[in-house]
């Protein structure tokens, strides 16, 4: 068999397993996505580009991808110490805090968006404190990013936790015993171990956020050219019964995300190789 089997397993039999995987992915992922591309193909190549290359659509792409990247970065930076703390320290209430991390998964996104908007409008609890500093959160890109940070948090923490659990504290001790500063120990010993998991968390959070609609529309203000996200433009097209135009935006978004995720995967593979 020309296929590369990592390790032949006695369990279900390769053919059955492969058949199962292909069938499942076909039904659940490939057929709906194929439908998307098929419908957008009715526009033709020129029509497809024409639907994309308008100032308004490009601005929306910038908003969607910019805020999703920013939110994933913030989540990466903030999620690492969170995951570290929850794994390495035992204290009363730890399980409760740990469970809280999953809340953004469980909460309907619209609820999250409405709650954040209520808090951060200039008259809201948090908005009132920020207004004198000249910071407006609701109805700006900052607000969109905030909603996405909320939505994406569990991805980073949950990706990191198992790896941190695996990490032997003795390694850090050895590093500092051998004279490394805490920063040196972190940067040269711990980070290389966590890097791939952190990237996984980052890319999951990013992928989730780029398509997020429910929470964002409530806090974005939806102003064309400024705070309008691509999923909203898709809904707008559907509202005009322009199914083909909607699928054009959808497929473009999917491709852009796919390319970004591929790049991240590639980076991750290189990181993994360099640490081994």
């Amino acid at each position: 068999m020309p296929l590369l089997l990592k390790k032949p397993s006695a369990l279900p039999g390769f053919k059955w397993a492969l058949g199962y995987v292909v069938l499942y992915l076909l039904l659940l992922v490939l057929i709906p996505l194929g439908g998307l591309f098929f419908k957008s193909a009715t526009l033709g190549w020129a029509g497809w580009w024409h639907a994309l290359l308008t100032a308004r659509v490009l601005a929306a792409f910038e908003v969607s991808f910019g805020t999703a990247l920013a939110a994933a970065l913030i989540n990466g930076l903030a999620g690492l110490p969170l995951a570290w703390f929850l794994c390495r320290y035992e204290f009363p209430g730890r399980r409760l805090l740990d469970a809280l991390i999953d809340l953004p998964f469980a909460m309907p996104t619209a609820v999250a968006g409405i709650t954040l908007a209520t808090l951060f409008v200039p008259q809201g609890w948090a908005g009132r404190l920020l207004a004198p500093l000249g910071i407006t959160v609701a109805y700006t890109r900052l607000g969109i990013t905030l909603a996405l940070v909320f939505i994406g948090l569990p991805f980073v923490v949950r990706s990191l936790q198992p790896v941190i659990e695996e990490l032997d504290p003795a390694v850090e001790e050895a590093a500092s015993g051998l004279g490394a500063s805490w920063w040196g120990a972190f940067w040269r010993v711990i980070f290389p171990e966590l890097g791939p998991a952190l990237l996984t968390g980052f890319s999951l959070a990013f992928a989730r956020c780029v398509g997020e609609y429910g929470s964002v529309v409530f806090i974005a203000g939806n102003m064309p050219m400024r705070t309008e996200i691509v999923p909203l433009l898709i809904i707008t097209k559907l509202e005009q019964y322009d199914y083909a135009g909607a699928t054009a935006l959808g497929s473009a978004m999917l491709m852009a995300s796919f390319i970004l995720l591929l790049a991240i995967n590639h980076l991750q593979a290189r990181l993994q190789r360099s640490t081994q």
């Binding site: 008259q123 203000g221 064309p224 050219m225 707008t236 005009q240 019964y241």
Partner: protein, 343 residues
């Protein structure tokens, strides 16, 4: 991604409804007729009352139980659900355009559906009014006051909200009707108006929330019935209604989805249901829910609720929905041009 979710949602809903109706058909010993009324957002309360009254009337006349289910959502979204296979016996939507599309794309009802019932198939009407904060601190009296600097107007996005299209067209029609008013002045007026809109919510209820709960904006452009609902639910001490000198006559139409009703064997009761809306009892229920009744006697009885306002129709001012939609709200239309960056 979300679009896929929506598709799945509606697929599940359709399956569930299909399952439910086939179950009902099998257990058909008890004589009970089921109707599905697919409607738009703010009619929830209206049709709850209508359904109860109609069921009682039908039972008295025919000794049959009628069970009417309601489905509510944005008007365009609801029309799409029907096109995609949601088996509505009747549709009661915000704009004739949405029913036109059902007739056009899915051919579920004849193209001249609007001629089948009196008054363009719109048994009740509504209009666009202003909701302002108590005491009217910005002194809003008419459309002109909305474009003054420093006035924040809340109105949803006309690209995603049927109600918002009425708001937009009402403002446009007002500007046309002013001395020396023409396309150019109307366009300028509407552009200045939207410069005063700080947030474009995706739906009418969302805009109401922004204005009422979040305290954003000085004026909310709203359906008359929504404005009354907001006042009744949230207290007369917080808001008041300002009726402009001129506004648009909104005629939310109703229609039997002929092909579906024939398939379900509900054509007769569906037609009676819609005719009931025109009866004295139906008109009174509409008036109580702050929709303007067509019947003169009922209008007279409830005239305290409906301030006099000069109304123009969409056919007079814009040559019908299809044309208005293409000129103003299609991609690249006038509304989009307002937000085009200056070159």
């Amino acid at each position: 991604m979300k679009a896929r979710n929506r598709f799945l949602q509606s697929a599940v809903l359709i399956l569930a409804l299909a399952g439910a109706s086939s179950l009902a058909a099998e257990g058909g010993a008890a004589k009970s007729i089921k109707l599905l009324n697919v409607s738009y957002d703010p009619t929830r309360e209206l049709y709850q009352d209508i359904n109860k009254a109609f069921a009682a009337q039908w039972k008295a006349g025919h000794n049959e139980d009628v069970e009417i289910s309601q489905s509510h959502g944005g008007s365009g979204k609801q029309a799409r659900a029907v096109i995609d296979g949601l088996e509505a016996d009747v549709v009661t939507l915000a704009l004739a355009y949405d029913i036109d599309v059902i007739a056009d794309k899915a051919q579920l009802l004849p193209k001249d559906w609007q001629k089948q019932l009196p008054h363009n198939s719109a048994p009740y009407t509504s209009t666009i009014v202003f909701l302002v904060r108590k005491g009217n601190p910005k002194g809003i009296k008419d459309w002109d006051d909305l474009v003054k600097p420093g006035v924040a107007v809340i109105s949803p996005n006309p690209k995603t909200s049927g109600g918002a299209r009425w708001n937009y067209l009402a403002a446009w029609g007002y500007a046309l009707r002013q001395k020396g008013g023409d396309e150019a002045t109307a366009r300028d007026f509407v552009t200045r108006l939207y410069k005063n809109v700080p947030v474009l919510d995706s739906g009418a209820r969302g805009a109401t929330t922004t204005f009422v709960e979040r305290g954003i904006g000085d004026v909310l452009l709203a359906w008359e019935n929504e404005a009354y609902l907001a006042i009744n639910e949230l207290g007369k001490d917080k808001f008041e209604i300002v009726v402009p000198s001129v506004s648009i006559l909104a005629e939310p139409p109703v229609a039997v989805v002929q092909k579906v009703a024939e398939k379900h064997g509900t054509a007769k009761v569906a037609k009676a249901y819609l005719k009931f809306l025109y009866s004295e009892e139906g008109q009174e229920i509409a008036a109580k829910n702050y929709y303007r009744p067509r019947l003169a006697s009922v209008r007279e009885k409830y005239k305290a609720n409906f301030a006099p306002v000069k109304l123009f129709t969409i056919d007079e001012a814009f040559g019908g929905w299809t044309k208005a939609q293409a000129t103003h709200f299609a991609d690249g239309g006038v509304f989009d041009q307002i937000y085009q960056p200056a070159k």
